[in-house]
């Protein structure tokens, strides 16, 4: 029985693979595109086959999550080839921000702590990346990202140590003080950080030659570069999401939820409170730094004014609106962030507000603030949490 099922699945897999290759070559304009298309389809189909197996999800959740990650990355990376430059740059920004959001969502959702300083931790990563690149111009991007993650984690550890003994409001206030102090910290090290003007990356991130070959001659640098940075951001975000999904489901993740719900009870059942809290804080800081370093890569530069207290509040708003402690919530928040400026511009145009006026310039903050309050008061689980809740309710209402 088992053998025949395996054989059947192998046969289906092989034939769909062959079909994908045949279709690609039949419809594609050139061999290069056909190779890419068939690769894309094979990964997609194989991943889908894996994902549709409920048994796999039950017995090997990690493999199932990996398959999902691969399929999503595969689809989105493929799509970036066709997207215009501004869509790609929005995607890149959204992906970078969603990593930051995922970190804070984890901290808050799993451990019940809150940070008002993740904008500053993002800044730590952004500057670490820029400083590293300026001192090691030839080092690969991945090394720069890694340096940023390590710096973020180290900074998180430093601030997280007192956090082990703090209750929510004290920790929130301390991270607020860090966010407010961040620009002064940058100024104090202005020989490294470039002071008010910030830093420029020595070289822009450009796609490798084999990828450039897919583009027709005369394609603008903007198009190819924005696709490449979007691809990097999406790829890194995919890995970050994969790790976080596993962390949420792990023993550590469960311990954190226990702490959130009742820390005294958690200690009684043997969860180490201080260690778990520090881990949550460090992970959240490292994720913020990773998102920040990608932002530097996307912008090709870093400026201290980006990492203000306002950014920390925006991050908090996005996490709450998307849904605290949920993985889709971080994605939703990232997308909202990427398109928020376009939406504000649209509103300004539609209402005929003076775009240079006082109200138009404050619209972003006011709207985020109102949404933040409204979400917390009326739908504290955010978009993702509320949707999940409604779906569960509907399912339960079905008889049987």
């Amino acid at each position: 029985m088992a053998a025949s099922a395996t054989t059947r699945r192998a046969a289906v897999g092989a034939s769909t693979g062959v079909l994908a290759v045949v279709l690609s070559f039949a419809f594609a304009s050139s061999t290069r595109v056909a190779v890419a298309l068939s690769l894309f389809l094979v990964i997609l189909i194989k991943g889908m086959v894996l994902l549709t197996s409920a048994q796999l999800r039950a017995t090997h959740p990690v493999i199932a999550r990996a398959a999902l990650t691969v399929v999503v990355i595969d689809v989105v990376l493929f799509a970036t080839y066709f997207f215009p430059a501004n869509t790609n740059s929005n995607l890149a920004i959204g992906a970078a921000m969603s990593i930051v959001l995922l970190g804070l969502s984890f901290l808050t959702g799993a451990s019940g702590q809150i940070s008002l300083g993740n904008g500053a931790f993002m800044g730590v990563g952004a500057f670490a990346m820029a400083i590293w690149a300026n001192h090691h111009a030839t080092s690969p991007i991945a090394v720069g990202l890694l340096v940023a993650v390590v710096s973020g984690a180290a900074m998180g550890l430093l601030l997280g140590l007192p956090a082990t003994r703090l209750r929510g409001p004290y920790l929130a206030g301390m991270t607020l003080a860090f966010a407010v102090a961040f620009s002064a910290i940058l100024s104090s090290f202005n020989s490294w950080t470039g002071g008010d003007s910030g830093l420029q990356l020595p070289t822009a991130a450009t796609p490798p030659q084999w990828l450039l070959n897919f583009f027709g001659p005369g394609t603008s640098l903007l198009t190819t570069n924005s696709m490449w940075t979007a691809d990097i951001a999406i790829f890194v975000a995919g890995i970050a999401f994969f790790f976080m999904a596993n962390l949420f489901a792990s023993r550590t993740g469960r311990a954190m939820r226990l702490i959130r719900d009742n820390d005294v009870a958690a200690e009684l059942v043997g969860v180490s409170l201080p260690r778990t809290r520090v881990v949550a804080f460090v992970v959240s800081s490292a994720y913020a730094a990773l998102g920040g370093s990608l932002t530097t890569l996307i912008d090709n530069a870093v400026s201290p004014s980006t990492y203000s207290f306002a950014l920390s509040i925006t991050i908090l708003s996005l996490v709450v609106i998307g849904g605290i402690g949920t993985i889709p919530g971080a994605l939703i928040g990232g997308i909202i962030f990427a398109y928020s400026n376009s939406v504000i511009t649209w509103i300004t145009n539609q209402t005929g507000l003076n775009p240079q006026g006082n109200l138009a310039s404050q619209l972003n903050g006011i709207i985020f603030g109102v949404l933040l309050i409204a979400t917390m008061l009326f739908a504290p689980m955010g978009i993702a949490g509320t949707v999940r809740h409604l779906r569960h309710r509907r399912r339960r209402r079905v008889p049987g």
Binding site: A184, I366, F368, P380
Partner: protein, 299 residues
């Protein structure tokens, strides 16, 4: 003349004292709300800022300075009361982060609204007192008419609040409501009103502080005028212990003086760094503040 009076140290102590009483007032207003409702009010700077814009805005309608100050304070009471009734009432007994998030949201809405209505351009408040330092033997001495006024006002506010809590029937009810709301209700205390009153008082204290800050600093009145002061005030409150009004004031003044020395002998960028360091170190040593007696946590 005694050289100590004109020394750099003396001038730093007095300058630090002037800043420190302001931090102490912000810390006190945070403690008032924390003790009565268990909420750390992140809009504690923005709420009085808004009230100050409303009250001091009447200056352009040919109202003179002191009536405008009085109206600002009344507006502060109103902002505090309405906020408690409308925004905060539903948050009691919710998870710790809910009120934090809501008050952070309120902070950005208020700052955005103030900027939308009155623009981000600083407004100079007329200063009824001179800010020029006194001279002793031709040398400046760290006080001016205005800083003396500032210190006297701050001390007066602290004394008024302390006497209200210690010596009046109302104060007894306010303290009882904070310590033991259910028992208070059984004794006929209208606890809901006391909570509203706590927020009103706290925002009133904040409004006095905002007027002092906006008159004193070169910045004038801006929507973000209280952001930095709030951070220092929070640090003072956390170091002193959010439960302790006396601790809040003492640590506010101490931090003001320490930071004045840091700014004078090091670099002005280092001020907030040192403040952060003080916060981190003191929270590691005494997570519930230096002046809190004990901490029993319930399961």
């Amino acid at each position: 003349m005694d050289p100590i009076l004109t020394s750099r140290i003396m001038s730093d102590v007095l300058g630090g004292l002037t800043n420190g009483v302001v931090y102490g007032l912000v810390a006190l207003s945070l403690v008032l709300v924390w003790r009565s409702t268990g909420i750390l009010n992140f809009a504690q700077g923005a709420m009085p800022m808004f009230a100050t814009y409303v009250g001091m805005g009447l200056l352009s309608y040919h109202l003179s300075y002191w009536p405008c100050v009085a109206i600002s304070i009344v507006a502060g009471f109103a902002v505090g009361g309405v906020t408690e009734r409308v925004l905060v009432r539903g948050l009691y007994g919710k998870p710790e982060i809910n009120p934090i998030v809501v008050m952070v949201g309120f902070l950005i809405v208020l700052e955005g609204a103030a900027a939308a209505i009155w623009s981000t351009k600083p407004r100079g408040l007329p200063n009824p007192f001179s800010s020029i330092d006194y001279q002793i033997g031709g040398k400046p001495f760290g006080l001016s008419d205005f800083s003396v006024f500032e210190i006297i006002t701050a001390v007066a506010v602290m004394v008024i609040i302390a006497s209200l809590f210690r010596f009046t029937k109302l104060g007894l009810q306010l303290r009882a409501s904070a310590l033991s709301p259910e028992v208070s209700r059984l004794l006929g205390v209208r606890v809901g009103r006391m909570l509203t009153l706590g927020w009103m008082l706290s925002t009133g204290v904040g409004t006095v502080t905002t007027i002092l800050v906006a008159s004193n600093y070169f910045t004038g009145l801006t929507p973000q005028v209280m952001d930095g002061v709030f951070a220092f005030g929070f640090i003072a409150a956390a170091v002193g212990g959010l439960d302790s009004p006396v601790g809040a004031i003492i640590s506010g003044i101490s931090i003001g003086i320490i930071l004045q020395f840091v700014g004078d002998y090091f670099n002005s960028n280092d001020i907030i760094l040192v403040a952060l360091l003080i916060l981190v170190v003191s929270l590691m040593v005494r997570p519930n503040g230096l002046f809190t007696r004990s901490s029993v946590r319930r399961v």
